[in-house]
Symmetry: C2
Subunit: 328 residues, 2 copies
C-alpha cells in the first residue's frame, strides 16, 4: 500500500479491470480514451500512484541510479550530484546516494546497490575493486566512472581531456615566462593526477624546462600544507600547477600568508573551475571542467545501456577551457 490505495481500488471506482488501470499508468499500452479518462479520474479522486516496488518486481527494472561519491568537501562534487539529480529527474529517474567514507567503495555499498537492483551506477571519486565491477557486470548494470579512469581495466568513463588540458596549461605558463615550476598532485593513484602531470611534464620536457612534483591529496588543507613545504625550502618556483582548485586555494592562502605576491612573484593555475575560483580574494586561473556536458554524456550512455545492455567501454573526454583570471 504505497499510497494506501492500489490499482484494484481505482479499478473498482472506475468500473474497469485492474489490468486497465495498469495499462493507463504504464506507458505504451493500448487503452481507449474513454477508459483512460475514467481511470485517471478515479485515480485522481483516490490519490493513486503506482507502487514502484511492485512494478520493479515485475519488470525487473528500476528507475533508480546509484551515485557513489567520496568527497563532499570539494565543491566540485556536490555540483556534480546536483546536475545528475536534475538530469535524471527529468526522465523519471531517482538518485540513490551512496557515500563511501573509505577511498574504496565497500562491499556493503555494492550489496545495497544490487539489492535495490539499480538501473545504473555512477562512480565519481571513490575507487573501486575488480570485484565490484564484476558484480555489476554480472547483473548487466551499466557503470560509468565519472572524472576518473582505472588502469588496466576497461570501463566506460567520462571526463575532461586531462592530457590536452595540462599541455595547454604548460604552454600557457611557458608563454608567460615561467621556467622552474611545481606540480602539486592529488592522491597519486588517481588518473586525474597522473594524466595532468603527464601532459604538463611532456611539454616542459620538450622545452627542456625542469619541474618538481609534490604529492598532496586534493584537499584545501593538503594544498596549503604542500605549499608551505615548498615555501620553506626557500626557493619560490615561477609557477604552481595545482591538480585541482580546492588545493590551489590552499596554495594561494599559504603564499599570501608568506607575503608572496601572486602573480608577481609566482603564478598559480588550478583545475575544475569551482565557484570559489572566481571569488575576488582568489581570482584563480584554472581549467574549466564542463560539468553539465560531462553529465549529459553520462546520462546518454546509461540510458542507452538500460535500453539495451552492451557493456560497451570507452573514454569520453570533454575538452573544457582555460579560464584566465588574476593568478597568472
Amino acid at each position: 500500500m504505497s499510497n494506501g490505495v492500489n490499482a484494484r481500488d481505482v479499478a473498482k471506482l472506475a468500473g474497469v479491470s485492474q489490468s486497465s488501470v495498469s495499462r493507463v499508468f504504464f506507458g505504451g499500452a493500448s487503452v481507449s480514451e474513454k477508459t483512460r479518462q475514467k481511470v485517471l479520474a478515479a485515480a485522481e479522486e483516490l490519490g493513486y500512484s503506482p507502487n514502484e516496488f511492485a512494478r520493479s518486481l515485475i519488470t525487473n527494472k528500476t528507475r533508480i541510479i546509484g551515485l557513489v561519491m567520496k568527497g563532499v568537501k570539494n565543491p566540485f562534487y556536490p555540483l556534480v550530484l546536483k546536475e545528475f539529480t536534475t538530469h535524471f529527474k527529468k526522465i523519471g529517474y531517482s538518485i540513490l546516494f551512496v557515500h563511501t567514507n573509505n577511498d574504496e567503495i565497500q562491499k556493503e555499498d555494492v550489496v545495497t546497490l544490487l539489492n535495490y537492483n539499480v538501473a545504473g551506477v555512477i562512480i565519481t571519486d571513490a575507487t573501486l575493486s575488480l570485484k565490484v565491477t564484476e558484480d555489476l557486470k554480472k547483473n548487466n548494470i551499466p557503470l560509468v566512472l565519472f572524472n576518473r579512469k582505472v588502469e588496466g581495466q576497461e570501463f566506460f568513463t567520462v571526463g575532461t581531456n586531462n592530457l590536452a588540458a595540462s599541455r595547454k596549461i604548460a604552454e600557457y605558463l611557458i608563454q608567460k615566462g615561467c621556467s622552474d615550476m611545481v606540480y602539486i598532485s592529488g592522491e597519486r593513484n588517481t588518473s586525474t593526477s597522473i594524466e595532468r602531470e603527464e601532459g604538463f611534464s611532456e611539454v616542459l620536457e620538450k622545452n627542456q624546462l625542469p619541474f618538481q612534483r609534490y604529492d598532496s591529496d586534493y584537499s584545501y588543507e593538503g594544498g596549503y600544507r604542500t605549499a608551505k613545504t615548498v615555501i620553506h625550502k626557500g626557493k619560490i618556483p615561477s609557477a604552481f600547477f595545482v591538480a585541482n582548485d580546492i588545493m590551489a586555494l590552499g596554495v594561494l592562502d599559504a603564499l599570501r600568508e608568506n607575503s608572496i605576491n601572486v602573480p608577481a612573484d609566482t603564478k598559480v593555475v588550478g583545475f575544475d573551475n569551482i565557484d570559489m575560483a572566481g571569488w575576488p580574494v582568489y581570482n584563480l586561473t584554472t581549467w574549466e571542467q564542463p560539468i553539465s556536458e560531462m553529465v549529459e554524456e553520462t546520462v546518454k550512455y546509461i540510458l542507452a545501456e538500460i535500453e539495451e545492455y552492451t557493456g560497451t567501454t570507452g573514454n569520453i573526454e570533454i575538452k573544457g577551457q582555460l579560464i584566465e583570471r588574476k593568478t597568472t
Copy 2:
C-alpha cells in the same frame, strides 16, 4: 531477479524450503543452527542477497530515507548530506536524494517519495507546502524539518537554538565595543533568518543600540553584493552580523576590496562554522552548528517513528557555540 538468483534457488541448493531461506535472511525468526548454516553456505555460493523490492512489497516498509535539499553551493548542506548518509548506512538505511531547483519542494518530488514508499523524509533548506505535509502524514511517513521551522504549522524540527545563539552574538559584539551594527539576513521567509534577527535585535534594543537590517539570500554573491550596498552608503557600521557563513565570506571579500580593515574598522560574525570559515584568508568568527548532534537527533526521531508512528511534533534545539577567530 535482483541478483540473478532468488530464494528458491538457494533453497534448492541448501535442501530446505524457500521459507527457511527467508527466515535466515529476515531477522527475528527461529531457525535451527544447522539450517542456517546450510542456507548461508548456499547463499554464499550463489551470491544471493534478498530483493529489497519484494521484501518491501510484503512488509510495506522500506529502508529508504528521502532527503530533500535545495542548495548545494553552501558547503553546510553537502556536509549534512554526508552525515545523514553515514549515519543511516550504519543501520541499514539508504538515502534517496531529492534535489529541488525551486525553493519549494515540487509535487513530483513528493510523488517520487511516495512511490518509493520511503520510511522517512528529511527536508533541509527547501520550503514545503501544506499539501506535501498532508500527503506524508496520510501515509504515516515521519517527517523532519532540518535546520528549519515553519510558521503556524506543527512539525518535528531539529536545529540550532537560533535565539540563544544570536543573543549571545549580540552581547559579544556589544562587549567588543560595537554600537551601530548591521544584520544581513538570508531569504526573509526562512525561520533561521527571522530567529537570528530576533535574538540579535532583542539584545540591541535592550541596550538601546540601533541596528539596520539588509535582506540578502544566503549565498556568497548575495553577501558580497549586500556588503557593497552598505559600503556605498558611506558609513561603515561597527559590526556585521551575517545570517550564515557563506554570505559572511562574501561580506569579508567586499570589505577587503574596499580596503576596510577587519577587525580594526569593522567586525564580522557569521553562522554555521563551515570549513571555509577557518581558512586563513577568512578566519571568520562564527557560531558553530553542531551538525553531527543535529543529525543524531533526527535519526533517533525517525527511527522511533518508523518503529511506531505517532506523528509527534516538537522542536529540538541544539545549543552550538561561538567560535572566536580574527574577524572580531
